[in-house]
Each structure stands twice: as structure tokens, then as C-alpha cells.
């Protein structure tokens, strides 16, 4: 009985804060737009029979007919995938250096990775606007060094979105990879070298495979939120960057078309379920291996 009460807490949490909201969003996605409060019909005040008969998949058909939406999905997937690879390329060396650093430095280095979270995420993205704009610090610095003659246009391009996503999510990549590398027994590398590997071969054949779980975990932790990212593309990406998070926001707040916005959100969630399930399976397998 006591055990049941204990597991009831997380299930109640999931029910109240995930499943019920999802059912509401899904219901709205099946509704029609209306000039009313709330801005959709039907509601339960119409009676149960008419309520269910009024629901349909019209909005999903609309999403399929307008190519803006699937282009936004594809573009989001591409941006999320490329950002994940870039984050891995930046994060892996940092995690590797941290794991190889002297024992007494590691808490400090770990602190430095986590430190940005102490400042508001929005403020940090705004700070990037100051760095990347035409008159920003980066352009001024490059002009001062003489590397460029005219300021580069970085802000309001996809490049700025990549920079923003990599910057924001790199700690999520570093931490699981660091955890994997930190556990790695140094004598395995020595054994590989002893058996004829060069340093680089030992890295490829031993270090990378043994940090694979960290790489997978980190990649999902970056890819999943990056796919639905709204703040970074809207602040740094400008009008040229097409991402589904931005489309969603515009449907909700500019068009006030809640049913279509909800349909967009439902599709996004369905797309995300695939990597989330893969991530869960990776975590589970890792836990089993350690047991």
C-alpha cells in the first residue's frame, strides 16, 4: 500500500502536467476556429453528442496541404541535426579535456560548464545579439584586427541560430560525455597502446566506443529541445530561418488560430516521440550494462 502511494506521486504528476494538457491540446487540434472566448468550437457546453460529432481532422489535412508546414518541419529537423553534430564537435573535446584534467581541477571545470545557467537564458541570447550584430563586438573585433574590411552579416541568419543552439546546449552534451570518460579506466588506453595502437587508434578503438553511451545521451539531450526551439531562431534567426517552433508561436499569437497551432504541436510531439523512445532505450540499456 505504501509502495503504491509512493509511485502514485510521479504518476499523478505525469497525469496532471503531461497527459491532461496533451489531451486538451489534442482536442483543440480537432476543433474549429471561432471568434469567441475560448477561440475555438465546440466546447463541452454544447452537449456531449454535438461536441464529439463536431471534432474532425480538418486542421491536420490543412497542414498537409500547405507546404509551409512540412518545410518548417524538415528545416527544423535539419537545423536540429546539424546543431547536434556541431555541439558534439565542440562538446566532446571539452569533456575529454575535463576528464583528463588533474583531479583537483575537475570540480572547478564542472562549475564553469554549469555557470551560464545562473543567468537567465533570455538574457544570454540577447547578449549574443549584441555580439553578432553588424556593429557588434565580433564584427568590431574582426575589423580592428584587419581580417575583414566590411562587417559580416551573422545576426538574422541560420549561422546565428547554430551559434545560439550550440552555445545554449553544449553543457547538455558535455556532462554525459564527461561522465562516460571519467569512468573510463586509464589502463585500457595503455593496454591498447601496448597491443600496438597509436594514440589516435587507441582513441578511435577504445575511447570513442566506450564513451558511446555518453555521446548518444548528449546528442538526444541537444536534439530533442533544439527541434522545438523557439526563442533562439526568433531572436537570432530573423525572418529567413524557418523553424517549427516559430511557426507554432505565430499561429497561436499572430493568427490566433489555436486549432491549427495545436495540430502543429501534436505533429511536433509525434516526431519527437521517436528520438525520445530511442533515448529511453539507450538509457535503459546503459543501466542494464552497469548492473
Amino acid at each position: 500500500m505504501q509502495r503504491f502511494a509512493l509511485i502514485a506521486i510521479p504518476y499523478a504528476w505525469l497525469l496532471a502536467l503531461f497527459l491532461i494538457p496533451f489531451v486538451i491540446v489534442f482536442k483543440i487540434s480537432l476543433s474549429d476556429i471561432a471568434l469567441a472566448i475560448p477561440p475555438y468550437t465546440p466546447t463541452l457546453s454544447d452537449g456531449v453528442g454535438p461536441f464529439f460529432s463536431a471534432l474532425d481532422f480538418e486542421n491536420f489535412a490543412f497542414l498537409a496541404s500547405d507546404d509551409l508546414y512540412w518545410k518548417a518541419y524538415v528545416s527544423s529537423l535539419r537545423i536540429a541535426a546539424i546543431s547536434t553534430i556541431l555541439t558534439l564537435l565542440v562538446g566532446y573535446p571539452i569533456a575529454y579535456a575535463m576528464a583528463r584534467a588533474p583531479e583537483e581541477w575537475r570540480p572547478t571545470l564542472m562549475m564553469l560548464v554549469i555557470l551560464p545557467f545562473w543567468t537567465s537564458f533570455l538574457i544570454r541570447v540577447y547578449a549574443w545579439m549584441g555580439i553578432l550584430s553588424q556593429e557588434g563586438f565580433l564584427n568590431q573585433f574582426l575589423l580592428w584586427t584587419g581580417l575583414i574590411d566590411a562587417p559580416l552579416t551573422i545576426l538574422n541568419t541560420t549561422t546565428a541560430v547554430y551559434i545560439g543552439i550550440v552555445y545554449t546546449y553544449v553543457p547538455f552534451m558535455i556532462l554525459p560525455i564527461f561522465a562516460a570518460l571519467d569512468r573510463l579506466d586509464g589502463s585500457l588506453i595503455e593496454a591498447a597502446e601496448d597491443l600496438g595502437c597509436s594514440r589516435l587508434q587507441a582513441f578511435w578503438l577504445v575511447t570513442i566506443p566506450l564513451s558511446k553511451n555518453g555521446i548518444i545521451a548528449g546528442s538526444f539531450l541537444v536534439f530533442i529541445p533544439a527541434l522545438g526551439e523557439f526563442v533562439i531562431p526568433s531572436l537570432l534567426g530573423g525572418s529567413g530561418t524557418l523553424m517549427i517552433g516559430k511557426v507554432l508561436w505565430e499561429e497561436f499569437f499572430n493568427n490566433r488560430d489555436w486549432p491549427v497551432a495545436s495540430a502543429v504541436a501534436v505533429i511536433l510531439l509525434l516526431i519527437l516521440i521517436i528520438p525520445i523512445v530511442l533515448f529511453q532505450r539507450n538509457q535503459q540499456r546503459q543501466a542494464e550494462e552497469e548492473a
Binding site: E190, L195, G196, E289
Partner: protein, 375 residues
């Protein structure tokens, strides 16, 4: 049939496989290896024995190439190996933790080193199969390291380090993680494999029994120096210093002053009002030189009456008895307070034991039973 004794170290024409020449290794201020010179010969099973921190592991890591030499040189088959990186040395190591690759099967672990050379697939398979057979692991080829027992893992580690047929195999406390019974069996297995493959083995251990069992020669180390290099019998029977005598096995040490009596015999005065002890020694001692007489407990007899015709007999009282099952060690306190350990085999049931606590007994030994040591 006369058997040729394997003793290349006694043959001046024999070229050593490994030659440490005045090797010193420092870690900052700390001297791990202190001006060490040592030859190891081909096909030897050489044991580095010493307490932890004596530098034995450092020596092994220098041979493997994981540590550089601060001064002096190490030669392998006549070639200075200072500049050769670990992956280019014809030396393989079996790690104390085994360091098996957890993501690879037993087969792939053994094949790992072979895959680094461009060995044809057929030869590689044959070699791995041979190694699996040698270490009786055929049934486990497809398992991952975490799916096999500790003893099997130990054999995988051995097979992996032998697969490339190295000139020299280094074993770092290879049996440390095994329980006592399995360790004994594995010791004989190691000797067997060493003989079959003809590889030179250098083993690092802190377990003197293990070193004595497996090794053709043992180097006893202390604080970065080699105290004595000799065969296990000589290390035990003819230690060159009190340290070695004390480190290997159990020993009685009696300190005193020597008086030469001629013909290699010495009188040792060791306590006020006691008859001097008689000891034979090949090494010369001068008159009045301070010396230590080391006698193994099993070479000391214990009796109720003073035995006739022995060189040394001293009376004392039984202070303690350590019953070890097959053996008993009697701790006999002599009048001066010196304690002499005498070990006897328990050929009779314990209830029939001749002596008990507080009994007055005689301990006796011959002049040749002990070793006379200067330091």
C-alpha cells in the same frame, strides 16, 4: 639421464635479453629506482618481489614504455629502447586490472593486437583459436568480459598479451584478484604456458610464495634498489642481507660479535653469560665484527633434554605456540629475552603434543643451519 640445468645467468657468454644499466627513475623529488643494474635472460621466468612502493611496478612500466628512464639505459636484445614507444615494442603486458576491453568479445580482445598488424584473416583466426585453446577458453570466445568469471578474465588477459608472441611478457600482479585456491592452480598454469611458449616472463608480485613457486630467479627489491637476485632456493637458503632473510619466509635473527675459529667456523658471542654460538660461513668475518646469524625456524629442533652432539643448544621457556594445522611454531624465550622460533611438523595428534606453555625446553641447531650476515 643428466639434465641440463637452465641457468643462463651463470654462463658468461650468454647475452641477456634485457639489460638495465644504472637506471634511475625520479618522480619529482622522489627516487623510485635508484641506480639499478640488472640482467634478465631469454626464456627466464623472472620475479620482481618487494613491498608496495619498492619500485617494482615502475620497473615494469619502464619496460613496457609507459615511463621514461631518468638516467641510464634499458636494452632489449642489445638495443636501447628509450626512444621506442609502447606500441612499437616487442613487449606485451598483462595488467593488474586485466584491462580487458569491455565492449569487445573474448575473441576480439585476443585478436585486438593481431588486428593492428596486417595479419591475413585466416592466420589471425588460427592464432586466436590457438590462444583460446592454450588458455582453455574455446567455449567463451563469444562472451563479453563481464559475462565470465574472474579466473576466466585472467586467462583472457594472458591470452591477449601472448597473442602477438612478444619477446617479453610483463605480468603485473597477475593473480592478485584471484582467491587462494585458484591462485595456486593458476601459478602452475602460468609456468606451464611459459614453458610451452618459451616466452620470457617478468612478473611483479608482492606475494613471496608466488614468486618462489613460479620464478627461475627472484629479485628482492626495497626502496628502488635490488637487494638480491638469485634462484628461489638461494634467496631462501643463502640470503645476502638481513632484509632479504627477513622478507622471505620466517627467520630468527641473532645479533652478536664474531670470533674466527678457522676453517670457516666462527664463534658468535650474543648475550652476557651465554655460551657463544657456532656458525659456519663462506664469507669471512673479522675478529669482533658485529654480525647477524639468521636461522630458519624449521632448522631449529626443540627437545626436553639437552641433545648430544649439536653445535648450538640453548635453554629457554615456551612463550607461545602457533598451531597451523600441519605445523606448529614454538616461540621460546631465552634468558636474555631473545625469542627463538622453532617449527616442527605435527606428525602426532595435537593431544599428544610434547610441550606446552611455560615448559622449559632446549632449542638446538647445527653450525651450518644458519647464515652469517654482516648487515
Amino acid at each position: 639421464m643428466a639434465e641440463t640445468v637452465f641457468a643462463p645467468w651463470d654462463d658468461p657468454n650468454e647475452k641477456p635479453l634485457i639489460r638495465f644499466q644504472n637506471v634511475t627513475k625520479r618522480f619529482g623529488e622522489f627516487v623510485a629506482i635508484d641506480d639499478l643494474t640488472l640482467d634478465i635472460f631469454e626464456k627466464e621466468f623472472f620475479a620482481l618481489l618487494g613491498p608496495s612502493g619498492c619500485g617494482k611496478t615502475t620497473m615494469m612500466r619502464m619496460l613496457a614504455g609507459f615511463e621514461t628512464v631518468s638516467e641510464g639505459s634499458i636494452e632489449l636484445a642489445g638495443q636501447d629502447i628509450a626512444a621506442v614507444p609502447p606500441n612499437k615494442r616487442a613487449v606485451n603486458m598483462m595488467f593488474q586490472s586485466y584491462a580487458l576491453f569491455p565492449h569487445l568479445s573474448v575473441y576480439e580482445n585476443i585478436a585486438f593486437g593481431l588486428r593492428r598488424g596486417n595479419m591475413p584473416k585466416h592466420d589471425l583466426d588460427a592464432r586466436v583459436t590457438e590462444m583460446l585453446k592454450l588458455t582453455r577458453l574455446e567455449k567463451f570466445a563469444r562472451r563479453k568480459p563481464h559475462q565470465i568469471s574472474g579466473g576466466q578474465r585472467q586467462r583472457v588477459a594472458l591470452a591477449r598479451s601472448l597473442a602477438k608472441a612478444p619477446k617479453l611478457l610483463l605480468l603485473d600482479e597477475p593473480l592478485g584478484a584471484l582467491d587462494a585456491k585458484l591462485r595456486q592452480a593458476t601459478q602452475f598454469e602460468l609456468m606451464d604456458i611459459q614453458e610451452k611458449t618459451g616466452t620470457t616472463f617478468v612478473i611483479v608480485t608482492h606475494d613471496q610464495e608466488e614468486a618462489m613457486t613460479v620464478a627461475s630467479r627472484v629479485a628482492v627489491m626495497d626502496e628502488g634498489r635490488v637487494m638480491q637476485v638469485a634462484t628461489p632456493e638461494r634467496i631462501y637458503e643463502a640470503p645476502e642481507s638481513v632484509y632479504v632473510a627477513d622478507f622471505i619466509g620466517d627467520v630468527n635473527i641473532v645479533a652478536g660479535q664474531s670470533t674466527p675459529m678457522g676453517e670457516g667456523r666462527y664463534h658468535i658471542s650474543w648475550a652476557e653469560g651465554q655460551q657463544p654460538l657456532v656458525a659456519a660461513s663462506d664469507r669471512p668475518f673479522s675478529d669482533g665484527q658485529s654480525c647477524h646469524l639468521a636461522v630458519r625456524p624449521e632448522k631449529i629442533a626443540i627437545s626436553a633434554e639437552r641433545p648430544a652432539d649439536v653445535d648450538n643448544a640453548v635453554q629457554g621457556t615456551v612463550l607461545d605456540i602457533a598451531y597451523l594445522g600441519n605445523l606448529s611454531t614454538y616461540y621460546v624465550e631465552l634468558p636474555g629475552g631473545q625469542i627463538i622460533k622453532s617449527q616442527t611438523a605435527n606428525t602426532r595428534r595435537i593431544s599428544r603434543r610434547s610441550f606446552t606453555w611455560e615448559d622449559t625446553v632446549w632449542v638446538s641447531w647445527t653450525a651450518t643451519a644458519g647464515v652469517l650476515l654482516a648487515q
